[in-house]
Amino acid sequence: MLPPDGLISLTPQGLYCRAADVWIDPWRPVSRALITHGHADHARPGCGTYWAIGAGAGILRKRLGQGIELHSLDYGEALQIGDAQVSFHSAGHVLGSAQIRLEAGGESWLVTGDFKRDADLSCAAFEPVRADVLISEATFGLPIYRWSPGAQVAAEIRTWWQSCPQRPSVLFCYAFGKAQRILAELHALGVEQEVLLHGAVAALIEPYRQQGIALVPTRPLSALSRDEPLAGRLVLAPPAAQASAWMKRLRGAQTAFASGWMAVRGARRRRGCESGFVLSDHADWPALVATARQSGARQVYVTHGQSDVLARYLREVEGIAAEPLQGGGLAERGNPDGEVGREATADDTGETGAAIPGDITIGEATAGDTTEPGAEPAEPEGAAGLINVGLINADPIHADPIHGGEPREALP
């Protein structure tokens, strides 16, 4: 666990830096919040002041409200907040995503947030940053996960789509980040045909174009007249649309799902699509290990997903002091606190939500698609379990997903 007197500590609201009196990606309303990126499990409404990367400000305002008090930053810009020096560095995850570095009292900490190191035409490239202490994600923290370049996957997607002119092709992907990455990669491949979009994806296209990111031509599916034929068209939709009435119009379509989870056949079969494309906005195993190594950190804390596995590997094989930062508040990051029922929540928390240790929330369960079957939630036992008990009692949303409503059983 995080030492209580460290530069960053864990509070019921999330990761907290006392020196700056700020929280990082808090999951409850707080006075001052540093936001790594706009996914709903990282950026939550109701905080007094937000700091975030300017490139993602459009999306953040769209999701948290136009009236929020938001300080837009550039990557690498040095900032003094309270007694701490704060800087944001590109995380390569989605548009405007950042790792956050804090320094005070001669010690530096780095919170990676969600990150990836693969090239992505829709956002700035990952920047390696050194720090004394690293808090890293581990959504795909198993060596079975290793990504191919996005351009290669996009070419596979194009082949899949264009070899099926007699039917529509529906590709399910997370509405914020993955969808735009695919549109940008297709553009780079020279695709000129218009791609149709589900409303949740369409809503997030403009902020990308405003940032000068080149995408293929797009149109919301709803803007097409009813009798227009859809055979041979590519449609991007969030995973939640797969089992919804929205699919009626696309009856007979070939379907595929683009996600890192698709690397494993069992997960592909469970997803119930005809095809799966392995494309993730999270770091794969080599990237996770390389990042921990290159950070030069004397201590690594691992959160999200396979935190036990990555921490043990870093300790035993890489010789880096590392331990899981599981359970606790971080476990709750998939909790769409206060956002239950909002379409955006269901649409874009997918990959992240998948990795949440043990405790998936009602909001997600009903949305039906944010939880990835391929995810192995970390164990709820031990220290994590103890923290969870506290949270369960405090948090009505954190109820037993089966019986709904009130928690029926406390953890052992």
Binding site: L142, P143, R146, Y313, G358, P377, I402
Partner: protein, 558 residues
Amino acid sequence: MRALVDYFREVPPGDGAWALHCLLGGQRRRLLTSLRLRQICLEGSGLPAWLFDDCYRQVGDSAETIALLWRQAIGEDRAGITVSAGSVASLQRWMEELLPPLTTLEPEPQARAMQELWQGLEPIELLVVNKLLSGGLRVGVAEGLVVQALAQLSGLEPARLRHRLMGGFVPTATGLAALLDPIDDDASLSSRPYPFQLACPFDAERLEATAPTSWQLEWKWDGIRAQLIRRGCQCWLWSRGEELIHPAFPELLELGETLPDGLALDGEVIIWPPAAPCPQPFADLQKRLGRKAPSRALLAQSPAAFVAYDLLELGGCDMRHEPLRQRRAALEALHQQLLAAPSPARAGLLRLSATLPLQAWQELEAQRSGARAVGAEGLMLKDLDSPYLVGRRRGPWWKHKLEPLRLDAVLLYAQAGSGRRANLYTDYTFGLWDRPSDAGAAAGDGEPSQPPVLVSFAKAYSGLKDEEIVALDRWIRSHTLERFGPVRAVQPVQVFELAFEGIGPSKRHKSGLAVRFPRISRWRHDKPAAEADTLAAAKALIETVGPPRSAALRHPIG
């Protein structure tokens, strides 16, 4: 379909034969165990064993775990240096030359050879190679589709192809050529069974529109579906799984040898002592299965009989195109003829499956309720005017099984599944109370009574919907009491209704009970654990439906 036709048209026959073998689910000897493959992967990659096992838990399949890990473990720098012979080899070469010799090698050269083969293979190729080695390659293509593709390719009738495929396919170029040959090879066909006709689950609406007298009503026997074939002075007993099972049933082989030549009977193998009015439960048949040479004692204790219900060939003539009423008449005549002289048939080894009267649809349920008493698992309805068809066709044959028995049990333990269910807790163990919860109160004062305890009763894997599986998986993870290796003991609060086909006493189970084909029929969100059923309730089921008694016999059986 199109992909299959194109493939078989283009592929060299040696490869096509092996591909067909794999598509039809043909099993071959396991060359290396999954455990050995894991060991070779660990040695070659230097990965810690615990990391491999963590990955396996996520993937749920050893062959695939290795395929995903190998490239990762050896790193980009070492991949692609050696292009292994395998990456360009044909399927035939893999199956006949590259893979089989691996088994005979000493451990060290074997590991080296394996790693060399893996080197330079794409993960998907690696997966297939590992599957072929460990004998676990299954391709998700229905046999019917494969047969249709071959029919389209060869211009032969699917039924004819199926007949030629019965009893196994030899994966050679010659075997494939013979399969697709326009002319039948009678010698090869003579030992093979006919493709079985199968029944669909009862559809009341559809049947009520027909005349009840147009159906042949029979018991649905709880044995092994089989064909007894007598041709050219030889005899074969084929199971529906297309295995020759006569070594396990020497008395039926003896019976077959007394039958007239050129005969094929469709029926059920079942344990049925000659003088008994009805057969023994399936558990007794299980004791006979897979035994090459059953002991005299076992033969005496559990004697088998062949219950015939259809006649597919008579005097060397294929009778399958004849309507059922004529096949049945011929079968009855044959049976009469066999009973005329002392013979194994007269000794009770060949029995005619009884037909039951059905004048009106209202009688059907009454007939069905008599099934347990005669040791049957329900009814069969067969259209008297229908020919004998290949496979499962909706219309001519219907099965109307007994309602399953049901009990409400409490979830005690869970274990993760594999494959599609990897990493999901889907293998469940359920318990019943050892005594009613109010037993203590009833006992009154005196010494304090023991509270009731849940005793493991049955395991079940199926019956829940996908959403329910996911929800239950989450619940299990957050309500674990204790872990025993891969098994989690959970808080005993979730109640499920289990359905099963039969129940009997068992010495092997803690509960003293064994159930047949248990599955989950309903998640009882409405029921608290204290209200789940007791062992006494389960034992009462044995008494009501248990092994049939002669007095319970309501219909004569031939």
